[in-house]
Amino acid sequence: MRCAERAIGGITALGAAVALLAGCGDGDGASSDAGTAPVTSPSIVSTVLRSPSLRPGQPIPTPTASPVLTLTGKIGITNSGEALHLDVATIDAVGLRQVSLFEPWVKKTTSFQGVWLADLLKVAGVPQSAAVVHLTALDDYKVDLTMADVRAGGVFLATKTGDGRPIPISDGGPTRIVFVGDVPSGRSAGKWIWSLQSLDVQ
């Protein structure tokens, strides 16, 4: 009798445990990027290819080549009315780097050249009060990045392929946002906006 009672109790406990396990299984994969940001990102690695020739506070001339990106909103430096038009050479002058990362869309480890978005925004005179960057692609796809995420690092504006050639539109060019190191802002693949057209800082 006691033995039976113990058995029933044991089974109940087992059932509960299994049910609990199953419950965990169901909820799997629902991780969100709303979690707390890690204090350090040990995997944010980049190779400096060229030291910056354009520094914060310097004026930015109207591009000589065809512009690939337009900045608007809370920017301290403009070269065409309210906007700042940039060609690839001007962007790269902010400090050209090379990064390597796993591209979640084509599921391949890929190299890119380009600059930290934070560096570019600094050169464009974005004030500390700015909170968010609205990014728009050529096909009108839109993504928002908080300035906090941008400043935290790992947000990279790619302007060239790993071997220094322009990125064709068919590979997401002329410029695109990629995330280096497993930074929280880039954990949702939807944030990896490609074929950028404009940035609006607010």
Partner: protein, 821 residues
């Protein structure tokens, strides 16, 4: 249970068996409950695994669906961009748009596991799009530009393929999840039973359980309730996606039909009503083939047979469907055998109505291949048809053997209208266009079905007879010449034109281009041998045509290079045998050395327009030479120089200026200049010619009608021209019967009656001379007196007094150039 013992101590001993029974039964109940719980637990675990897998699959399917939707949208935008090229879109837009589409295709392909057919299909679509030269699409291209039509077709087919993939993907997702849901629903009861059991057992054993046990039960209870509510949530999600799928099928304009392998409809989407006018219920249980146009039933049956034999196979086929009201709609159907798929169990037909799009494409293609004025195929389509006819017929080893006139071969006729230009010039371009339309209509009536009549441009047409005997080809040419000869009413006037036809039959391995060129050469021969008839190409014509082309090119530079020489033939007074004038004759010393005879190069020069500078040059040289002789040779003071002018020169409108310039430049009195015009050339533009000559006469020059009697004689024209000199054609002298001899007499009489000076040409023998004298002609020229002389020999001739005639035979033997008394 033992804890309840003290609660029943007063139970009568008679009830002892009950206690015994209870004691005996309790372990059995426990075992049954345990077994039930174990079974239910097993189901719960299996379900949990299933649900986990399903959730992952839902996420992946959702991702696939979104990727494919993005790519489909981009393809739609690309089609729109290409369509609006030149209006709201530029070349760069199509480059950008195609780039964006390529990127989405890369991403979509990467989201499928390696080896998945969807990934292969996406990469194939991408490969085709990437190979297209989007940067070469010019904004200026008309809608009929073949490259642009190709771009539209490519964008549209890509969109179709993507949309099909997407629909198939959604269907697959729906089917899998519904299947899983059914399995889950069946096990739901078991879960309920488990929960009930756990609750019952838990409550029953609550009293005797330790605190730890109580906590376990509570957690189990909680977990199971959570499990149940999650099941419900998942079920809800599935219902939602089922609804989404249903609405997709319902909204889609595509017709989705499910049939068994025999082609009997088992399901039809609601769009059947919009497309065919039949409700889905009216289609179900009947053969699909009933709604396919008779002409395409064979194709449909073949596709069905092919599909039935190979599960999973996908085929794309174009079918014409009959609507309820008897109209025909063209659909592009993508069909797949999904018989092996338990959720489908049949053949899926995804049909899109492409009637309007095809009509547009056909119209664009038609515009690109047809001449807008006459509606006939243009040069490009003719070349396509000719090339395919050439490919269809193996080359014959050589010329067809004699007597094989009935053998079939490929023939090309090149038809050029005679006299079209003058209709255009005199009645205006609208009349010219109207005439071309009539000509095209008649041409079309002359050919059989399967033959191609095309307009190559201007007034040039071509006919391809892919399978006709030589005799047939000649018969068609005759019909064309006859038909185009009949007068037509254009611009309110009756106009007669004609046609010259060149025929080339395919010999050996000749290509499409060879055939067209040969027919063109033959057509030129027809033009130059009297027009209004046909000529069959002979290889020797090619040699002559080549020589002509070479001459044309050399002739264009002849004046600048000083290769045009002027020779002079004396015109001798038949009373005094003194020279009364000289006829200037153009000679071309070609770069190859020998003198080219005028009858060879003058027609070419007339044709190319080189006659104008040549004529001007001859006129200038002749005036200068004559003025020099008149002032340096005593007996030459009253001499006249005759210069030939061509109709082309007269009609060029610059002859008057050229004559005035030459006279002024040389100082020659106008009265010393005679302009000779060939009688046969005068008929085309009598009014304009007469006006030009009146202007020349006002300058004071004399007019001679040359070669009189050789062509269409027109007395009224002779009078209208107000000529001063009549030159009797040399051919009339060769008639040696008395009766014909009197012809020279008659013309000479006529000339004298009209007050003209009569000169007879081509006097080569003493008989000719006797005949000319008998006819009382004023003057004569010919080898009997002198052949044309180089300018440096002229002064000696002029200073030498009367010219003694000599037998031309001596000259012909090359013994001497001339003889003086």
């Amino acid at each position: 249970m033992s804890a309840r013992h003290p609660a029943v101590p007063a139970a009568p001993p008679a009830h002892g068996w009950m206690r015994r029974v209870r004691r005996a039964v309790q372990p059995v109940v426990a075992v049954v409950v345990l077994a039930a719980m174990a079974a239910a637990l097993y189901l719960v675990v299996v379900n949990a695994v299933l649900l986990g897998r399903m959730t992952a699959e839902v996420q992946v399917a959702r991702r696939h669906s979104a990727d494919l939707a993005d790519a489909t949208d981009e393809a739609q935008l690309l089609l729109q961009t290409v369509t609006q090229l030149g209006e709201t879109a530029a070349t760069q837009d199509s480059v950008v748009q195609s780039g964006l589409l390529l990127r989405h295709l890369t991403v979509a392909a990467a989201s499928f596991p390696p080896g998945a057919p969807e990934g292969d299909e996406l990469r194939e679509i991408r490969r085709r799009l990437a190979a297209f030269p989007w940067d070469r699409l010019q904004v200026a291209d008309g809608r009929s530009n073949p490259l642009r039509i190709q771009a539209m077709a490519l964008a549209s087919s890509s969109e179709r393929r993507l949309e099909f993939l997407r629909n198939a993907q959604e269907a697959h997702f729906y089917d899998t999840t519904i299947t899983s849901l059914d399995a889950k629903r069946n096990s739901q009861a078991a879960i309920g039973a488990l929960v009930a059991l756990v609750l019952v057992v838990g409550t029953a054993g609550l009293v005797g359980l330790t605190r730890r046990n109580r906590g376990n039960v509570a957690r189990a209870h909680q977990a199971l309730e959570g499990e149940v509510s999650e099941r419900h949530a998942a079920e809800e999600a599935l219902r939602a996606s089922e609804g989404r799928y249903r609405s997709l099928v319902q909204r889609a304009s595509d017709l989705t039909v499910l049939t068994d392998v025999a082609g009997v409809v088992t399901f039809a989407s609601p769009s059947a009503e919009t497309l065919l006018g039949f409700t889905p219920a009216e289609l179900v249980d009947l053969p699909l083939v009933d709604h396919i146009d008779h002409a395409d039933r064979g194709i449909a049956a073949a596709v069905l047979t092919e599909l039935a034999a190979a599960p999973g196979l996908v085929r794309t086929v174009e079918l014409r469907l009959r609507t309820r009201d008897g109209q025909v709609r063209l659909v592009e159907a993508v069909c797949q055998n999904l018989v092996g798929d338990p959720d489908v169990g049949g053949v899926v037909w995804n049909a899109r109505d492409v009637t309007d799009r095809r009509a547009l494409e056909d119209e664009l293609t038609r515009q690109a291949n047809h001449d807008p004025l006459t509606g006939l195929p243009n040069r490009s389509l003719l070349l396509t048809r000719l090339s395919s006819a050439v490919r269809a017929l193996p080359g014959t080893p050589g010329r067809a053997p004699a007597g094989s006139g009935e053998a079939r071969c490929l023939s090309v006729l090149l038809v050029d209208l005679d006299g079209f230009k003058s209709v255009n010039d005199t009645l205006g371009h609208p009349a010219g266009d109207e005439l071309l339309m009539y000509a095209a209509e008649r041409l079309r009536a002359c050919v059989r079905e399967g033959d191609t009549a095309a307009r190559l441009g201007g007034d040039e047409f071509a006919v391809v007879l892919p399978n006709a005997s030589r005799a047939d080809a000649i018969a068609v040419s005759r019909r064309i010449v006859e038909s185009l000869r009949r007068p037509v009413q254009v611009g309110g006037q009756e106009v007669s034109i004609g046609a010259s036809v060149g025929i080339a039959h395919r010999e050996g391995q000749s290509s499409a281009a060879d055939l067209l060129r040969d027919a063109d050469i033959a057509m030129y021969v027809a033009k130059n041998t009297g027009k209004g008839h046909h000529v069959v190409f002979e290889p020797t014509m090619r040699v002559r045509a080549a020589r002509r082309t070479a001459l044309q090119q050399q002739l264009a530079r002849a004046v600048d290079l000083g290769e045009i020489e002027v020779h002079y033939q004396p015109i001798v007074d038949l009373g005094s045998y003194r020279v009364r004038g000289l006829e200037a004759l153009a000679r071309w010393r070609s770069p190859e050395g020998p003198l080219v005879p005028p009858d060879e190069f003058i027609p070419i020069a007339e044709e190319t327009g080189a006659i104008v500078p040549i004529g001007r040059n001859v006129l200038l040289q002749a005036c200068h030479d004559m003025q020099r002789w008149r002032s340096s040779v005593a007996d030459a003071r009253d001499l006249q120089v005759s210069v030939n002018v061509s109709v082309r020169q007269v009609l060029s409108g610059v002859l008057g200026d050229d004559v005035a310039d030459a006279l002024e430049d040389s100082g020659l009195p106008a009265a010393a200049l005679v302009l000779e015009i060939t009688e046969s050339a005068q008929l085309d533009h009598p009014e304009r010619l007469a006006a030009e000559f009146a202007r020349l006469k006002r300058l004071g020059v004399s007019i001679a009608v040359d070669d009189f009697g050789s062509g269409y004689s027109s007395l009224s024209f002779l009078l209208g021209l107000d000529a001063d000199v009549l030159k009797i054609d040399r051919t009339l002298l060769d008639f040696d019967t008395t009766r014909r001899g009197s012809l020279v007499q008659a013309i000479s009489d006529l000339g004298r009656t009209l007050g003209l000076t009569v000169v007879v040409e081509g006097v080569e023998t003493s008989e000719h001379l006797a005949r000319a004298r008998e006819a009382q002609c004023d003057a004569a020229q010919g080898f009997h007196f002198s052949r044309p002389l180089l300018p440096q020999h002229v002064p000696a001739l002029l200073a030498g007094g009367p010219v003694i005639p000599f037998d031309v035979a001596a000259v012909r033997r090359g013994e001497r150039v001339s003889r003086r008394a």
